[in-house]
Amino acid sequence: MTITVNDKQYDLPDDPRVSLLDFLRRDIGLTGTKKGCDHGQCGACTVLVGGMRINSCLTLAVMHDGDSVQTIEGIGTETDPSPLQRAFLEHDGYQCGYCTPGQICSATALLDEIANNWPSDASDDLEAAIDLTDEEIRERMSGNLCRCGAYVNIVAAIKAAAKEMAA
């Protein structure tokens, strides 16, 4: 049984109790994905599986045979950061940085969800094209807690990155 993480293939663990989060952080050393609660309550462990965001603490590694996972390390690097990573830096969309990889993974998926017109609680019309309003961003980022209270800057960073990517 194997899993692909950031385009690299790994064997899945023998112990079925290992969460996808612990597999990433401990077994393959990708500590960019964070553990804040281990119970699906904070979003620090957000990764993309098949392009969709999930809480990696809420799923077991063995359930991902053949899956392709993208973590913060696969989104960009210090020498080649993604537009969202650059925008978080510029807009100070973080303080301690612990929730940040999860925020950026979430925001990465969010931009796709909007592009695909998936509605949210903040959408006025479930059928119409979705605009990237502040309220849409806030609603869709509310699964990612930031105790440092960087939300205002996180919203600004996501808007800026979206604008840059559209240009």
Binding site: R17, G36, H39, G97, Y98, T100, E139
Partner: protein
């Protein structure tokens, strides 16, 4: 070589303003930012250490009594289990901030529900977790009379009490009087990174990677807990995923991992579960606060009373200092300030962001709003009228006082209308809309700190201290202070923090970090400047340091000629801390919508104007303010620790049940930084900013709720049930 400065006098030279590099105060992005946004910043539990065992703490399932036995044989027979660590040196509680000694130990004697008693160590986390969950304890329970702080006897804290004049008489004879009691519930720091540690023992020396705020105290607390000499202990905390007070003192995981590593001669990692963090670290005490005001017909105070009750476990000296700003914020020659502590067996009470003012200021500002209404005075004007020109009890001067400016600038930017403050003026469908304001105040402290600055042969600088950056911006502001003083862009200044191998900083806590270590770096830089000028044969007073060159001529590297200059700066507050009252001041303005049927409150607009001395980095300082405002929203509307009346355990012990603000709870917020240099605050004229942003904000929201719908809610948080109960028909 160590250069020392003990500050006995205000420093009005504003030396940083005379430097030429132009990096101080600038909104440069965090120097460690790329590591954080790409996930390469390494937090405590993330160091890759071969053969690391995993430990999970076993906790007591009762509040008071003695654990007489743990069935270790059964645990050792479980898959993967290596050891069960039972050691009287294990700490039963986290240390209080700046304790500088071991907290309560002997964990088998239990004083609160969930207290750690032992550690299961296994080859994998899954095995350790499984074993810990199945541990069988034998114990004797002692009955506890009540877990309610209002039911038990309380001790008055004499050292913080003020009794002056005759408050009761002043209230009786006043044109306008207020007598009201406001309750606040407990809070959790809930830093996003749970407390965790990895300990390595080489038979003589111990290294622990831990998530801590104040290594300069934590090293002593850990060494004392373990009965080890301090020089055999090294603590490393390069990145800390938030602290907010919960990581001020050495926590139980640090000691548990250390004891296990020393006993087993193998590295051991112990990471608390989120539930363990809630149960075993620190809570902010709940409070009951009575305010009595006497005012003349214009609203000017002649009597000011603030009496409060908070709680803690026996043996804890910490008492949530809710009177801290009431001490000096407003006039009133008849004063009564008294704080009492009830001893109860809930978990340890300690520092949570802005201990004292975080709940004292909102409560005070609700009472002030009631006075403004009674006296028929614009709430902003009422505050301005009551600003004393010196400390109202001891007569000491203020170091610098920006409350009035903050109130005026904030009111203007917000578009405050103080003329008609009657509630229920605006409605939009189901929603009442209203505005409110509050003052902000947070005492300023500085502490002794050391920072080493090396001007290397290549003309770049290295900065080293065991100070931490818990999201506060220390890496960046130290690069700016040193860059400004030595004439270097910040990318030429390498800052290394969070390692006790470096000189002792101040630690991050009480908003004192930036001013303390910033001042120590300033002292070191002055010594480096002198040394370089001496080498160049010029007088430091005639020297301009800019872009790595002296007076626009030779580069530092040329002057150094292969050598380096290495100076440690030590800053210590001297008489300034006795001679002046120093505080950050500010003002909050909020607009809310309150649902007339459900009582739900949404904050739609919030503004904070703050004066906190020199701004060291406009970007990170603003973020600190925004963080504080966000916490204000949580304290106002959702955050409350709830305890079981039968056994005192924390009922809402995770992030699903304890509600911190989420992105959609926080509107666009505006921050105004009032221009200020406070010469008696520090030689860099800066004060603390990490906490001011939440010292009063919840009061502005409470007052806005009243203005919107007429519900005067006197218990925080103002959950829908409380708003509905207080709403007039």
């Amino acid at each position: 070589m160590t250069a020392k400065l003990k500050q006995d006098e205000p420093d009005t030279r504003n030396i940083l303003d005379t430097m030429k590099q132009g990096v101080i105060g600038k909104p440069i992005p965090r120097v460690e930012g790329l590591a954080k946004v790409t996930g390469t910043a390494t937090y405590a539990a993330e160091y890759k250490i071969d053969g690391c065992l995993e430990g999970v703490m076993i906790q007591a399932p009762f509040a008071k009594g003695t654990v007489t036995a743990i069935d270790t044989d059964a645990l050792l027979a479980m898959p993967g289990v290596v050891a069960v660590i039972e050691d009287p040196r294990q700490t039963a509680r986290a240390a209080q901030g700046t304790a500088n000694e071991a907290p309560v130990q002997e964990p088998m004697t239990v004083t609160y529900y969930g207290q750690p008693v032992a550690l299961v160590v296994a080859e994998t986390f899954e095995d350790a977790r499984n074993a810990a969950a199945q541990a069988k304890l034998t114990y004797d329970i002692e009955q506890v009379g009540s877990f309610d702080p209002q039911d038990v006897e309380a001790e008055v804290q004499e050292d913080s009490a003020t009794r002056q004049g005759d408050l009761a008489h002043a209230v009786k004879t006043a044109a306008h009087a207020i007598d009201t009691t406001i309750h606040t519930e407990g809070h959790a720091s809930a830093a996003m990174e749970p407390h965790g540690s990895i300990a390595e023992w080489d038979g003589r020396n111990l290294t622990v990677y831990a998530s801590l705020q104040m290594l300069n105290y934590n090293i002593t607390e850990l060494a004392d807990s373990l009965d080890l000499e301090e020089d055999r202990v090294r603590l490393v905390s390069r990145y800390v995923g938030g602290g907010f007070g919960s990581k001020l003192g050495v926590s139980e995981d640090v000691v548990a991992a250390s004891l296990a590593a020393m006993q087993l001669n193998r590295p051991v990692r112990v990471v608390m579960t989120r539930q363990q963090v809630f149960q075993t670290v620190m809570r902010r005490s709940e409070s009951a606060q009575r305010f009595r005001f006497a005012a003349d017909s214009e609203g000017t105070l002649s009597g000011f009373g603030h009496e409060a009750r908070v709680s803690n476990l026996p043996q804890e000296s910490f008492a949530e200092p809710v009177l801290q700003s009431s001490d000096f914020l407003y006039k009133g020659e008849n004063r009564l300030l008294e704080l009492e502590v009830a001893r109860i067996h809930r978990m340890t009470a300690g520092s949570v962001r802005a201990p004292g003012e975080a709940i004292g200021m909102p409560a005070l500002e609700i009472a002030m709003d009631m006075l403004a209404e009674k006296a028929g005075v614009d709430p902003v004007e009422l505050r301005i009228r009551n600003i004393p020109d010196k400390h109202p009890a001891n007569g000491k001067p203020f170091s610098s006082h920006k409350l009035e400016e903050a109130l005026r600038q904030g009111a203007e930017a917000f578009g405050w209308d103080g003329a008609n403050r009657a509630p229920r003026q605006t409605r939009d469908g189901e929603w009442w809309i209203g505005t409110g304001m509050a003052s902000a105040a947070r005492v300023h402290n500085v502490s002794k700190a050391q920072v080493r600055v090396v001007l290397a042969a290549d003309g770049t600088a290295r900065v080293e201290t065991d100070m931490t950056d818990i999201g506060t911006g220390t890496y960046t502001i130290l690069a700016q202070v040193v860059g400004e003083m030595l004439g270097l862009e910040t990318d030429k200044v390498l800052v290394s923090l969070g390692d006790t191998a470096f000189p002792r900083g101040s630690g991050s806590g009480g908003s004192w970090g930036a001013a303390s270590v910033g001042s120590a770096a300033f002292v070191a830089c002055n010594a480096v400047r002198d040394a370089l000028c001496e080498k160049a044969g010029i007088n430091t007073d005639d020297a301009e340091f800019k872009d790595g060159r002296l007076n626009g001529g030779k580069t530092f590297s040329d002057i150094l000629d292969g050598t380096e200059i290495d100076r440690t700066g030590e800053y210590e507050p001297g008489d300034i801390s006795e001679d002046y009252v120093a505080s950050g001041f500010g003002a909050f303005f909020a607009e809310v919508r309150v649902n007339r049927f459900t009582g739900e409150t949404r904050v739609t607009r919030m503004l904070g104007a703050f004066g906190f001395g020199r701004v060291l980095n406009e970007k990170t300082a603003r973020s600190q303010c925004l963080g504080g405002i966000t916490w204000s929203i949580g304290a106002a509307l959702t955050e409350a620790l709830l305890f079981d009346p039968k056994d005192g355990h924390v009922v809402n012990q995770d992030l699903a049940e304890y509600h911190v603000p989420v992105c959609r709870d926080v509107p666009d917020c505006e921050v105004i930084m009032v221009d200020e240099r406070d010469p008696a605050a520090s030689p860099i004229q800066a004060k603390g900013i990490g906490e001011l942003g939440m010292c009063g904000g919840a009061g502005a929201i409470a007052n806005a709720i009243y203005n919107a719908c007429g519900a005067r809610v006197l218990t925080l948080p103002m959950t829908p049930d409380r708003v509905i109960a207080a709403m007039p028909d």
